[in-house]
Symmetry: C2
Subunit: 604 residues, 2 copies
């Protein structure tokens, strides 16, 4: 049977070979795992996804989550999935043994989540936020909070959310006004939060909100924001639960991800909402951002998963749909010939190869960043941990953005492969296209990620992260030079590394002069440029691994499999990488600042 | 009040000044019109659109057209609009006086339709197909057909459709199997058609289908296709109407354009469906394609209209939404400052300017091509008419494709301007994003247009069309050289013209060798490259007109208006035109043919 939404063979090749999960498994923290146990886990996730996720994907879109009589009606599968996720360890996977977790590496957890999200990008969202909020409690909360909330969350009985956004503030978290008034050992919470994913759903026994709020008298801006646990129902002395004045006032209906609810919550409408401080006062944003790398990898992964599922849907269609004829050498077609399958038309192949290059490349990017994440936590020496922390920091905005932005392009091409059917609700492609649009907005928009990349990560520690990354890429180039067939591509990539230096030199001039606005004005095109080159590196690595296998006669995968990876690398180098030439021209054309100013007349 | 969906000042500047509609009005055919009458007409169209189109746009999406009990339920405004369109001459506009029409130039008709489509891209579709099918009858049908059908269609009482696509054939029209069996003076029609826009709607007195079918015994392929008038109800001897065995069996629900019905029709299910041949047998496809230039301009125009409306929606939001603060010179933000409007953030300005460049540029492209259309029909000499016919032919695939493809990018940026709200159903941006997706599929996909451009239009008449176009562009470059401030841009464009020659030389090598598949394999990237450069030309023209007005002290528009056009041209030359450098690199990297073949292993 054709792959319906994911290709496990490619996933495993990336995980085991290209990004050698073994390097991570060798760290003491992960001593209980080996390749066999990982393999078993991934196969069971795929089985589970086939049965419990993929079959509900279409109907969850057709019967969207919605607000009714003060609560959110969701598909019955949500509760079933949360319970199963608790049982199968999808929620506790990342937690330490001492916290009741499975202490799995991020690489493996990302592989597991990727498979699930490719099958159904709504259900795993409920788990994702429960994990994120429980992690905040285990990392920064006191024992009492841990004891009260975490076990119920890890077993999937209680859901969790992250409550950051407010209507007047949007991405500008320094303008949060939700208040926390000291009240004995706890606080009275008052305010409202919007865009709360998984914020409420019928059948959940309780929902634990991790809320950013400002303690009365706290400093202005981000320095005065604290983090609170605010449950929908608070525990009573007798071990029961009582309503905690958290009201679901509405939901947001959306163009996509309609199976995943987005809510508008009021806290303390009746002055009876209790919150418990997590960690120290005024450290809320810091805590939130310490968990942000993982969250942003998760966003990129979700987009990569949708792009992957869309690729398989398009590929299956193209393999079955006869239409048109091949051109003869004169450019004419012979109407008496049989129709050909559309996969034989070069333009269709080009679109499919683009989908393949983006979706497999994105997964490779996810694994690489997850590996940095693991090694930043679990490497043996502090020096190594710091090295991988810096690499994780610089890759995070890229891993969030590339799959989200290029994933849109990928799915858009997938729609085009189907022609008019791609636009029709009877086919799944339009659903993927609607779903993927949110990922460039989640957890910091592309503009915000791009400013993070150029304004913070590239320059952090005197450019140390960028230097470390350049060493990684240069090592890859060196290794590829050893293969005659790869050397031309390695040289191309080396030239692009030099081009990156030129571009940065041109942009850094503005930062040196103290003109930060000019420095960051083109951060988004820089992100496009930079991530395109990084993907060239990842494809070169992928092709080298395949080439090594061919040369050494490794039979774990077929020769066709290896050759197809090399072919896709060549496609990437021919059709994607050269775009950076034009982007560099854009980034170095700095005579005028056309996007800076407050002049409204520019838009007349 | 801010422009809600269209900026008439820019539209008129483009129509009157940049593309001098006067050149067309001076032709004998249009002698009855002058600038004042055009001005009056456009203002009344805008008034009408404000009242009868824009207010229904959101609800037509929320209550989509749908199939019920054998017919299509549409919004009540559909019938009201068809009647009004008949009365206001929206249907008869393009027809000659002798056919009961208004004999208006295409430039003006496109301006009128553009305003309407920006207000509501569903309702004008019903008119558009009625015009197209009535035009086929007036051009190629006999007197009897003209007398029976055209007057009712022009008054909006009877709708019209174009029935090309069949399930097994898709874009491959040579595989049409709908049959026509001679039966006295007429034919018995039997077959099915899919994707029929406006194919049926409650309340229409009759619907006149223009159907491609194959007369029994006709040659295979496109040479055996004839065109028939097949009404839903056929006229009876006593002047009444009787059902003609045309059955609506289903509709297609779609991700966008939900207010515009798409139907699946059966003809002759009970062997009682009569069709009347239009013109000669086996000439059907030729007739259809003689009307195709206008239809394809119409598709590009619809996309440009949506991109324009989305631009105004984003601009209005950005002008009203406070969020975040401006960067200080150190890169820090001062939380005690007031929030700034998001329009003051460079990244938001970049996205809005991109929307402006694409949407205004697309409208300019529409007017230019419509002008070629008008002059190809109405120029005084045969030589002139032939010149403009060739220019129309080469511009047609571009005018269909650029607004459809880049319009998607434009609206996507518009969604991003709104952040999370852009994804929410409460805001209109997501509706525009869903709607615009169909335009790259309508009337020949982007892949088909690209093959038409490179495989037919660039080479037609020994490259004569391309030569004529090059002369037009060179003239524009020369004229711009006269302005010191424009000369650097003129030089950049001249260099891009040379680059185009290099690219074509590289590609034509394959055609010369008889390798048409290789020649056309990269037709789509070539389209992107070629249309990007043509848009540079159009922006240079636009800026020159503005510069002329500034220099001569023309006060028809404000200085700010003219300066904003020059600013947008600079934006286009900085942020869009350089992309062609990378695209040229892609197009000239011809050592390997990565998208050609029938090897399925490539996708392993």
């Amino acid at each position: 049977m054709a792959n319906q939404y994911v290709d496990l063979e490619t996933l495993k090749f990336l995980l085991y070979k290209v990004h050698s999960v073994q390097d991570v498994l060798e760290q003491e923290r992960y001593a209980e795992y080996d390749k066999d146990s990982i393999e078993m886990l991934l196969n069971s996730v795929k089985d589970f996804s086939d049965k419990e996720l993929f079959p509900y994907f279409r109907e969850m879109d057709e019967q969207p989550a919605h607000f009714k009589d003060g609560e959110i009606v969701v598909h019955p599968q949500v509760n079933k999935y949360m319970k199963a996720a608790g049982e199968m360890g999808f929620i506790s996977g990342s937690f330490s043994y001492e916290d009741g977790g499975m202490q799995l590496p991020q690489m493996v957890l990302n592989a597991s989540a990727f498979i699930q999200e490719a099958a159904n990008n709504y259900l795993p969202g409920y788990v994702g936020l429960t994990v994120g909020s429980a992690e905040l409690i285990t990392h920064f909360g006191n024992k009492e909070l841990n004891k009260t909330y975490v076990p119920k969350m890890l077993e999937g009985t209680w859901g969790g959310t992250m409550c950051l956004t407010e209507p007047q503030a949007g991405s500008s978290l320094s303008d949060i006004v939700t208040s926390a008034t000291p009240d004995g050992d706890s606080y009275k919470i008052n305010g409202q939060k919007i865009f709360i994913s998984g914020g409420d759903y019928q059948g959940a026994e309780n929902i634990v909100h991790l809320v950013l709020a400002r303690i009365k008298g706290a400093p202005a801006g981000t320095k005065g924001i604290s983090l609170f646990v605010v449950p929908k129902k608070r525990p009573t002395a007798d071990g029961g639960l009582t309503p905690n004045d958290v009201t679901t006032v509405a939901d947001f209906q959306k163009m996509g991800q309609r199976g995943y609810c987005t809510t508008h919550l009021f806290f303390g409408d009746k002055e009876d909402c209790t919150g418990w401080l997590v960690g120290e006062p005024n450290q809320g944003l810091k805590y939130m951002f310490l968990m942000m790398n993982g969250a942003r990898i998760g966003v990129g992964r979700g987009a990569a998963a949708i792009a992957t599922a869309a690729y398989h849907a398009s590929l299956n269609y193209a393999n079955e749909r006869p239409q048109g004829r091949k051109l003869t050498s004169t450019g004419k077609k012979d109407a008496n010939q049989e129709q050909t399958l559309i996969i034989n038309h070069p333009d269709v192949r080009r679109m499919l190869l683009l989908q393949k290059a983006i979706s497999e490349g994105s997964l490779s990017l996810i694994f690489l960043t997850a590996k940095y994440h693991d090694l930043s936590l679990a490497s043996a020496t502090a020096e190594e941990r710091e090295k991988y922390r810096l690499l994780l920091e610089i890759m995070t905005p890229v891993v969030k953005t590339y799959p989200s932005e290029m994933g849109k392009t990928s799915v858009d091409n997938g729609v085009q492969v189907l022609g008019g059917y791609g636009f029709c609700s009877d086919y799944v492609l339009q659903q993927y296209l609607r779903d993927i649009r949110i990922f460039a907005l989640y957890e910091g928009t592309t503009g915000i990620q791009s400013q993070d990349l150029l304004g913070r990560k590239v320059t952090m520690n005197n450019g140390e992260a960028l230097k470390l990354l350049s060493v990684e890429i240069s090592n890859s180039i060196q290794a590829s030079m050893a293969h005659d067939s790869l050397a031309p591509y390695a040289k191309k990539l080396a030239a692009k590394l030099e081009l990156t230096q030129d571009v940065l030199k041109s942009l850094m001039g503005f930062a040196m002069k103290g003109d930060y606005q000019r420095f960051l004005a083109d951060a988004t095109p820089f992100m496009e440029f930079f991530s395109n080159i990084l993907m060239g590196w990842l494809w070169l690595d992928l092709a080298r691994e395949a080439q090594n296998a061919l040369v050494t006669g490794n039979k774990e995968n077929s020769a066709e499999f290896y050759e197809s990876k090399i072919h896709t690398m060549q496609f990437y180098f021919k059709y994607e990488l050269p775009k950076t030439t034009g982007l560099a021209e854009i980034l170095m054309d700095n005579k005028t600042a056309l996007t800076i100013g407050t002049d409204k007349e520019v838009f007349v």
